[in-house]
């Protein structure tokens, strides 16, 4: 793939990040712009212009731009999306409000649940009913659809969502309703549940289609505007978007189903984690990204990040499972917790020290920023322990005030507890690592695996600072710190493959399946997926298709994903599914139950093109050979207390260099910490590889 010159753009809440890869010259350039909140396209165009100029390329030489955004997720968190009307089946007006009927926190009497995206007065019902076999029980009352549409238009809605009971089995009524509404209200955007997510479970489907509606007008406007601007600037190549599942898609997906972009940024991070795993020959990787307020962990097995078919958006209680809106969207499965550089340490009612999830954010920020922050944070502790240098934070752009930190820790943590300042600081560091280790361990336990076989790939500003402590708690043997911890995540946009997902629900006991029906819907799904990929610029010969089906024991509410062979399927389908299910069940749960029948629920297909194969072995950095060692400073390690420790400049290390721990390695966006029981080496890709030696 010579001549591959692409820009990846990640629109975040505060910053828009850019990364340009020029395969021909084997260089990477990076850039940052403040996000232009009212119209993110402005910052994107400026940034693209800048980075292209910096790299010496013209816009028309680019082979394409790949784009991800937090706009979708933020719109739901901030609740500033469109005014949505919902039309649903008579008798089911309150699906969105009733939800799962659970409390996500057992002991909190004052629990807050997320408000439905569509309030009751804008949820209208019409007569129609499909039964559990997909047959029409009550025909759609078309007049009621038009009346409901009119009432919603009169209420001033921006967009209408449609979600009928059992429509996942037969979309006929939803499609007819779309047709009628389009005819009578030609300028009104309409989105139907079976187009966005043709899957069983009305609450999740209704949440997904209304969330899609909620972000749709804004995303449509912004994407078409952006495309126009870039074309005007001379862009010839395609503008693609990153989807939450880690695939690259054409723009029309973002315009019809923008909800699929909800986790595009983190997905890119996981993909780049997988990439670093691959180039360092690590089979099992925990991609660990720790920033200012959160840490994210993703498991990667044999180069494939874990996937999930659902995601919870806009949690009312941050990081609390069950407190958000459940969406059925293919995503890369990540755990996120409130552990970051800004996480605040405090003493709780039981007189125990706690860290996070509350964060000092960037304003006022940690105490050491000297901007008025009074609560000691993780970054403050890292400074006291010698992990961070007061003079080389963000490459020296900000000077950190260590004396302010000492008095804050003394006052808020040490005074009441009898701890020394050092004990309090090392406590903060250990507790935040412990919090991250606990969720990671539990997550791995849920998958029934052993944490010790994983390699940690650390990114984000605080990732490399905490990787060593986290790895020790999980008893991992190896840490990989890619060069440019802040950029490595955006790289994911440029190494992801074009991919698209299709789903179809066909709920049947496997002994009652019709293989002809399965073959028919799979062939439709396959054609539509391949067409979409070709439109996204994939090479037709390189497209691979894989099929999976969610199955369960009849009566058990828990589905598992079972891989299917290519097909087409014949009369042995029942046998094939039964065997594949039992085998997978045994693999996951260590048991086979043969006295219960098995059923298939949701049939999935993923088509993907080939991923660009990058062989970058440097990032345009000037290596300052021979000037690696910057000096010594006292650094705290739990086993030794403060000890003299060599400090290196990341930019002075070259491939093949080896260091015996303890060591601090500083780069602009982060600092690598390695304890006395480690050895470090630099590989051909300039990754820093840290091996921990347990006795």
């Amino acid at each position: 793939m010579s001549g591959y010159k692409k820009i990846g753009v990640d629109v975040g809440g505060t910053f828009t990040d850019f990364v340009l890869v020029d395969e021909e010259r084997r260089v990477i350039f990076t850039g940052k712009q403040l996000t232009s909140a009212s119209n993110p396209g402005i910052a994107i165009c400026e940034g693209v212009e800048r980075i292209a100029t910096k790299s010496g390329l013209r816009i028309d030489q680019l082979s394409g731009i790949v784009h991800g955004t937090t706009l979708v997720t933020n719109t739901i968190i901030e609740r500033n999306g469109a005014m949505v009307g919902l039309i649903t089946t008579r008798g089911f007006r309150d699906v969105l409000e009733v939800g799962h009927e659970m409390r996500y926190d057992l002991y909190d009497l004052f629990i807050e649940k997320p408000e439905p995206l569509v309030p009751r007065e804008r949820r209208l019902t019409v007569t129609e009913r499909i039964d559990r076999d997909g047959d029409v029980l009550k025909t759609l009352n078309e007049n009621e659809v038009i009346c409901a549409g009119k009432e919603l238009v009169d209420q001033g809605v921006d967009v209408i969502a449609i979600c009928f009971i059992n429509a996942y089995l037969n979309p006929e009524h939803e499609m007819r309703a779309v047709e009628l509404l389009n005819k009578h209200f030609p300028n009104m955007p309409i989105t139907a549940s079976t187009v966005v997510v043709p899957e069983i479970r009305e609450y999740e489907r209704a949440c997904t289609v209304t969330a899609n509606a909620y972000v749709l007008p804004r995303m449509r406007g912004y994407i078409s505007d952006l495309e126009q601007k870039l074309v005007d600037m001379g862009l010839n190549g395609p503008l693609n978007v990153m989807l939450s599942g880690g695939g690259i898609a054409a723009l029309d997906v973002a315009q019809e189903s923008p909800i699929q972009m909800i986790e595009s940024g983190p997905a890119a991070g996981a993909i780049s984690g997988a990439y670093y795993g691959k180039i360092t020959s690590s089979d099992a990787v925990i991609a660990f990204d720790m920033g200012g307020t959160t840490a994210k962990m993703c498991l990667i097995e044999d180069g494939e990040p874990e996937h999930s078919n659902s995601f919870e958006a806009g949690r009312v209680k941050r990081f609390y499972n069950g407190s958000g809106i459940p969406l059925k969207v293919p995503v890369i499965d990540l755990i996120e917790i409130g552990a970051g550089g800004g996480s605040i340490a405090y003493i709780d009612a039981m007189r125990l020290m706690k860290v996070g999830p509350a964060s000092a954010g960037s304003e006022p920020g940690p105490v050491c920023y000297g901007r008025g922050g009074e609560a000691p944070t993780v970054t403050d502790a890292d400074l006291l322990l010698g992990y961070l240098s007061p003079d080389y934070f963000l490459g020296g752009e900000m000077v950190l005030d260590i004396d302010l930190v000492k008095s804050a820790v003394e006052k808020k943590l040490a005074e009441h507890t009898g701890l020394s300042v050092t004990e309090a600081a090392s406590g903060i560091h250990a507790i935040v690592n412990n919090n991250m280790a606990a969720v990671t361990r539990r997550y791995i336990a849920e998958k029934g695996r052993d944490p010790r076989r994983y390699t940690l790939v650390a990114t984000g500003g605080a990732g490399p600072v905490h990787a060593y402590g986290l790895a020790k708690q999980l008893r991992l043997g190896r840490i990989i710190c890619p060069l440019g911890a802040g950029v490595s995540s955006a790289l994911g946009f440029l190494i992801a493959a074009p991919a698209t997902d299709r789903v179809n629900s066909y709920v049947r006991r496997v002994d009652d399946l019709d293989p002809a029906i399965v073959n028919e819907f799979y062939s439709k799904m396959e054609n539509s997926a391949i067409t979409a990929l070709l439109e996204a610029g994939a090479d037709g010969d390189a497209i691979t298709v894989n099929k999976r089906v969610e199955m369960r024991y009849v009566g058990q509410g828990f589905e598992i994903d079972v891989a299917l062979p290519d097909g087409p399927f014949g009369d042995d389908l029942t046998e094939l599914l039964n065997e594949a299910f039992l085998e997978r069940y045994d693999e996951l749960f260590g048991r086979r139950i043969s006295d219960v029948p098995v059923e298939a629920i949701t049939w999935r297909l993923t088509a993907s093109g080939s991923a660009p194969h990058l062989t970058l072995n440097f990032d345009g950095q000037e290596i300052d050979k021979g000037n690696a060692k910057k000096g010594m400073r006292d650094v705290y390690f739990p086993e030794t207390g403060y000890m003299p420790c060599a400090v290196y400049s990341r930019y002075g290390l070259s491939a093949g260099d080896g260091i015996k721990g303890p060591a601090i390695v500083e780069e602009r966006e982060s600092t690598v910490v390695a304890g006395p029981d480690t050895t470090l080496r630099v590989d051909d890709y300039l990754n820093l590889i840290i091996d921990i030696h347990y006795d």
């Binding site: 089911f92 799962h100 009927e101 004052f110 039964d131 559990r132 999740e204 701890l419 412990n434």
Partner: protein
């Protein structure tokens, strides 16, 4: 942390790290149980628990999810096991089992298991678990058994595993007395696997920390938890407060609960003297279940944030007269003990409301939960047996309206209508909030819901109903009004027995009303904008607005 350091006793950092690590061990154990259990009650309704005990059977950590039923149960179950198998006969690899309602969590489907944990050849603790099995024989899930013997197989404490090997006789007994034996035995092994994870986790923990055993740590943790609860209780005035509650009872014989909460310094006593005698229906709540549902609301109201361990409950005592529905004697039937146990928070909060109304909430529509089970043969000739889970409205509290259709104190998840229809011949025609079902108040009770169901079968259907509140609605608190009453009615107007099994005609269609919750505070204090919002959304009718709130448009 090397062994030299622990003698420094426990500072706020190491204690925090060790405690969260122990909770994490209980959570990993729970993850293993969830992952390998078949029972939908375990998977979808969290009807299980995993715990870690020290060598004196003090509970140090339990899994973070879970439901209130198991608070404080396992430690006394393990002690009861000692009566059958003396501690000196417990070997590494052993796993004991019981489901006796009086030893365990109050009804037969809940299996309690425990394994000893040895470290350096010394007993250092126990891993324990409780899970609701898919079946335990007997009449199935119904409230009309007249004696325990009808309710299924009863297993007194016995070794299920002996030094890692299955006790074949015990296994065979269980297999031959339950309906879906592969699932049941499989789920028992899920508990075994969970306990093994807990054992390994604890041994690794001791190795990492250098602690020889849990004794000192356990004392430190329990005293912190106890201190937090004592502090919360001490903040309330001393005194004694009374309250009572009437429930529909069984076959026209109403039941009654009397409650007296006494606070003296940092001790809190709950006494149910005066409560109705036990009945020949499965609504009797054994003492341990009574204890669990009496202490849970106290923890929510007074000390919701600190993690639970034995210490949290040390300052609380609970008593109920022997032979009453809250402390029945063997062989009382107990299968539907939730119909009584869930009610307790209502009377306890009415006592606390007299001194700290801002801490409590009104009674909820799902206090107790309404459960119905449908069985028979569908039109394709397949046998079905399907339970319907749904909730009424949450009682309001001092800060906000109750949420619609949210259960308290139980916390059972609800599947979707589409999922329900996909596995059974039940057709749901209607499932919507009911206007005016929430009790009026400064803060309104959460709305209940109506569900209309048609059973699409050509044969008569077995129908088991476990419900209450048909006569006595969920009550408001601190001046708030009552929620609506339960209704279960066939399309011809007949109402099946609220606590029994009945046969329904083929193709029956019925309506179930899950009540709204009680209101909080005087309706006259309700914000006008909130009233208007309620009317606009149809949460209340204009007439109700006029009647309860003197609202004039």
């Amino acid at each position: 942390m090397k062994s030299t350091e622990h003698s420094k006793s426990f500072d706020p950092v190491s204690l925090e790290i060790m405690w969260s690590r122990l909770i994490s061990i209980a959570d990993e154990s729970a993850a293993a149980l969830l992952r390998t259990a078949f029972s939908t009650l375990v998977r979808e309704s969290n009807d299980f628990t995993t715990v870690l005990l020290d060598e004196d059977c003090n509970c140090l950590a339990e899994n973070s999810g879970g439901i209130p039923s198991f608070v404080g149960v396992v430690p006394s179950t393990v002690k009861a096991m000692f009566e059958y198998i003396p501690i000196k006969e417990w070997r590494p690899g052993d796993c004991l089992i019981t489901n006796d309602p009086w030893f365990g969590s109050g009804h037969l489907p809940d299996i309690t298991m425990a394994s000893p944990i040895f470290y350096r050849e010394k007993l250092v603790g126990f891993s324990g678990s409780i899970a609701h099995l898919p079946d335990i024989g007997g009449v199935g899930w119904a409230s009309d058994g007249r004696e325990l013997y009808e309710e299924g197989l009863r297993i007194m404490p016995v070794k299920f595993l002996e030094e890692g090997k299955e006790n074949k006789i015990v296994g065979q007994f269980i297999r031959s007395n339950v309906r879906v034996s592969d699932q049941v035995i499989g789920d028992i092994y899920a508990q075994v696997a969970a306990q093994r994870i807990c054992q390994n986790g604890l041994i690794q923990f001791l190795e990492d920390t250098g602690l020889p055993d849990l004794t000192e740590l356990s004392t430190a943790l329990r005293s912190r938890a106890e201190a937090a609860m004592r502090e919360a209780i001490s903040a309330l005035p001393d005194g004694s407060w009374m309250s009572s509650l009437d429930a529909d009872g069984v076959d026209e014989r109403e039941t009654h609960i009397d409650c007296r909460v006494t606070i003296k310094g940092s001790d809190l006593d709950i006494d149910f003297e005066g409560t109705s005698p036990q009945v020949a229906s499965g609504i009797n709540s054994v003492m341990k279940y009574t204890y669990a549902y009496a202490t849970y609301p106290i923890k929510c109201a007074l000390d919701p944030d600190s993690p639970r361990n034995e210490g949290s409950f040390q300052p609380i005592t609970v008593q109920a007269p022997e032979g009453s529905i809250l402390n029945p004697k063997f062989p009382a039937p107990v299968a539907a003990r939730q119909l009584t146990g869930h009610l307790l928070y209502g009377v306890i909060y009415r006592c606390l409301a007299q001194i700290a109304p801002e801490r409590v909430c009104a009674e909820s529509g799902s206090t107790p939960t309404l459960r119905s089970v449908y069985g028979g043969i569908d039109r394709k000739g397949n046998v079905f047996n399907q339970a319907l889970f749904a909730a009424g409205g949450l009682g309001a509290n001092s800060r906000m309206d109750g949420y619609a259709c949210t259960a308290f104190p139980s916390n059972t998840g609800v599947g979707s209508v589409e999922a329900l229809e996909s596995v059974s011949p039940l057709l749901v025609w209607h499932k919507e909030l009911v206007t005016d079902s929430g009790g009026p108040g400064k803060f309104r009770g959460g709305l209940g819901q109506d569900i209309e169901i048609e059973v699409r079968s050509d044969h008569p259907i077995r129908f088991s109903l476990m419900s209450d509140r048909h006569k006595y609605p969920p009550r408001g608190i601190a001046g708030g009004g009552d929620g609506s009453c339960t209704v279960v009615q066939l399309s011809d107007g007949t109402r099946p027995n609220q606590k029994a099994r009945t046969m329904l005609p083929a193709g029956a269609r019925l309506r179930l009303h899950f009540p709204g919750g009680g209101g909080f505070g005087c309706p006259a204090e309700r914000d006008r904008a909130a009233i208007e919002n309620d009317i606009r959304k149809g949460y209340i009718s204009l007439e109700a607005g006029k009647k309860h709130y003197n609202y004039e448009p």
